[in-house]
Symmetry: D2
Subunit: 312 residues, 4 copies
């Protein structure tokens, strides 16, 4: 697949732009594709009532090191646990409390549309100076997802399609791959669908299984057009950045992100874990589910940890 | 309603106990009542596909003051926002990041079954010394809910039933009140249901509306028996503690909690906001919904912030 | 005292500027006035060896509320305390651990010279865009004080001079007041001295004593000139901002800060507590001490909590 | 040197005990040895007025990994930095703010006497159940040091004495080594002195210099007796635990800690950096200094980060 340069990103962004599509004040982007009708229709994907968590643990086992990445893994600590509660004196009951210190992009999470931009402007044409300040995102914050993302999820299990446990480092998943995978799964993508891209990489690493080091496998930037054409509302992947990393030498590092978040207003979910879901889909041959995820209610947040659920 | 003393709590606990009901190793309690069949059946509650968030903002507007309560309101802070990213040098894109510091019980949340106990033992008979340590809960942690709580939700809108905006301080909602409210709503409770108790108090306070100060309205301890009989899987309320506070003078402060969490293994959700959902239910006369909530994936957590969603 | 407008601030800044005085690369400002000779000479202020802490507790009893001020009080929490250490298994000893979450300006602290600026430039003429980023202060950080502030401290106890427990809200302490107080104390200011300004306000409030609400008493902006003339190396005060607040109607809110930090490179310490020291000085008539304070070693920090010590 | 078992620890503890020595209510332990007279006399160690920081940076470059140690390195993050202050609207000045999240034992720090105990009792015979709760240390907290540790510091530079850059892993520094080092330095230990033990290990590791992996060099448990006899008030070292680790096979892991903190009430400082000070001492042959350190004012704290200063 060809390298895309900055001008190419800009041109692709104009081509696929959703600015103004849902009004000049819109802050929800492709979430608008999940209409109430689509949400209601998605319940048909529930057959057995089996639930799957799509998250990795929000704890110190994450991939980050503040020394190199500017992100730290979540810190979970007990603050009370042996039944004492000296603030209130002796009581008939005992209780425990704990605390979480978490970067909103450091475990399974959604990106708010205020998370990323280029050429000074955010999704729907707002200048970042006014939109994202020390108080948080005044525009395009994660709170625009507060009523949840409830739609049909469709699993693209690329490693199984290729007969392997995980995609090799640097593998780019292109539009033809998506078509092939969905075709093999017997799924016809519909507007409002949430695309669940399994690469098998990060969850395997977390569990200590062997994965060759190197650039992350993921979507190629050309998938942006495919996503726009099929009316996909969100893409969630089990890698760090949805798209392939190290896959656009000489050009911008994350061209898909740039067009997807800033021009398309596309909801992206990262650091997911599809292992259990994928096993089940392989077993029963059904690759659709009711996808449900709701970010924490963080005013001004530019992301949120989330524990997405798939129900089949 | 009568005062219950510590011996009464113990007797009620024995009467309503679910210890061993789902095996000696069970850590999920009444969540077992939400069988796959119940989850699948709950999708029938979705008619229009309208979604409602049941959470309050996870930010500094919460009710806590560390000086008096031992809890602090969530702290949300931007950590990067003006597009700079000096760690990586100049780039074609800009991005922002933020952080959340949150006590797991300080905004809309679920209590893990490891959160509360009495007489040294947790739900299903484990001693707290082994079960809850500085590393977190080895038993009954919030991670037992990681595949989500997906079932039918039924709204009990007590203030509307009584023709008021919110229950007066100290009001105890008893079993007869629940029967009356559900009857008026045309809802027959089913095993696995999630009971959504609206008192109208805390969300009003948050929005700066006038609420008389005083003891919190909420469930009376006698509702524990009603909940056991009807097979309710979870109770979520828009107050600080589900049950009425200041309502058991001379006896334990929170007798319902003691029996519900420790003996019944009942899932409790607190600090919810039902204002939007309740308006909709009043408008269309339908008081059931598909309830979906998933705690963060926190190994050993004794609670978790959550943004529950109701879909009608 | 007259109101100063923005042009007046700029003119005063030029008049008192220390830019270039200690080299174009200097990041320490008036700390340069504390030469090794001054440090060595300051030990002569030690007579009895009596030590005094000049800090307020770094805990939830602070003055801040995130809802209104953008700052939160320090959060101190135990993370292990009952002797358990399950990570390491049974051991012969037991131990406890705790954690501090603290804004560097939210308790007794020093301001780094990177904390405040105007007209885009920091002390010594660096543009803030390059100097203060999401990684911290690349210039003028608190780490420039890492070898400590060790010099003579001289106490100006204004309330005692005026025969009161604390200055009335809005009281401006001017150059003549400083001269009068030092004269009465028998202290001749010397270059490199640390000026300790007692107003009596904030520590009284902290202890729950009655203080009329209102604008903070503190230095008038005209003291900047006095400080420059006398070669004062640092000013520390027992209020929130050293200078009087609400005292320059129609002009900049904190004109003294603007000139002191940005133009003079003056070290400012805030939220100090001089109550014990002042009692001792009143008792023995000696208003000088060996002042010692060292910020935490925070690379890039724009402030630091500190527990300054006075030895007499 | 011989292995000491648990009974040996108890016997040594009884032998060296300071319980009751400064009253039954004492919470300061050997800090009592730093009398005002000792503090005043220590100023004689200041000759040139040269200051040295004895701390390592309180940031992500620390040695801890939450996955294995239960401790995390300090997190320093900017929270405002580009001059915006939208909470207050446009202003004539701009400012920046930052935040520190720090375990009190995760960078250069003092241990409070409430940090460690055995056989259920803390220093001076208090039971840990009452003394250390979720609210912090009610006894023996770090706040007992709030007026600072100001005394003579004496440097023991073991690597230089042995003609090396750092002690080999597992090296035990015994009483004879201390005598030899101080003799070579021409220093006679005095009651109230702060012993500064350089091993050269941890600061070298931090700077990326080569250090053989392995058990930490440090004091042998037999030094406890030497310290008691010489009236040493505090021991600070540039390793993680003052004493040698991995040096008492088959016996308690940290026997020196157990006797020093719990029985002697000895103040311990850890993770210091003596590199600059040691270079200076080697250059001028003077191994004494005025040592000054003050923990943060943390009510109930069981430790505190600190940036200790040496003045020569």
């Amino acid at each position: 697949m060809p390298v895309i340069d900055m001008d190419g990103v800009r041109a692709l962004g104009r081509e696929l732009s959703n600015w103004g599509r849902w009004g000049d004040d819109d802050q929800r982007g492709t979430l608008n594709l999940i209409t109430p009708e689509r949400t209601a229709a998605a319940t048909a994907a529930v057959r057995r009532g089996a639930s799957f968590s799509l998250s990795v643990p929000a704890d110190e086992t994450g991939p980050y090191d503040l020394r190199t990445s500017g992100r730290f893994n979540p810190i979970h600590t007990m603050t009370r646990y042996r039944g004492d509660n000296p603030r209130y004196g002796p009581q008939d009951f005992q209780s425990s409390e704990d605390m979480l210190i978490i970067g909103t992009h450091s475990s399974t999470h959604f990106d708010a549309l205020a998370h990323l931009w280029y050429d000074e402007l955010l999704y729907n044409g707002r200048h970042h100076h006014d939109a994202v300040t020390s108080l948080g995102a005044a525009r395009n914050s994660i709170q625009n997802l507060v009523t949840g993302v409830v739609s049909r999820g469709v699993l693209v299990d690329m490693p199984r399609l290729r007969g392997t446990t995980h995609l090799a480092p640097g593998t780019r998943v292109g539009p033809a791959d998506l078509d092939e995978a969905l075709g093999a799964a017997g799924v016809t993508p519909r507007p409002g669908d949430v695309l669940l891209l399994r690469t098998g990489t990060y969850p395997r690493e977390r569990r200590g299984l062997e994965v060759e080091p190197g650039a992350s496998p993921g979507l190629s930037w050309e998938c942006a057009r495919w996503i726009r054409e099929h009316g996909i509302a969100a893409v969630c992947a089990d890698n760090l950045a949805v798209e392939a990393l190290g896959a656009n030498p000489g050009g911008p590092m994350i061209p898909f992100h740039m067009v997807a978040i800033r021009d398309m207003g596309l909801l992206l979910g990262e650091m997911f874990d599809f292992e259990d879901l994928a096993d089940d889909c392989a077993a029963d041959g059904v690759h659709e589910c009711l996808f449900m995820a709701s970010p924490l209610n963080i005013p001004g947040g530019v992301g949120s940890p989330v524990n997405p659920i798939a129900v089949k």
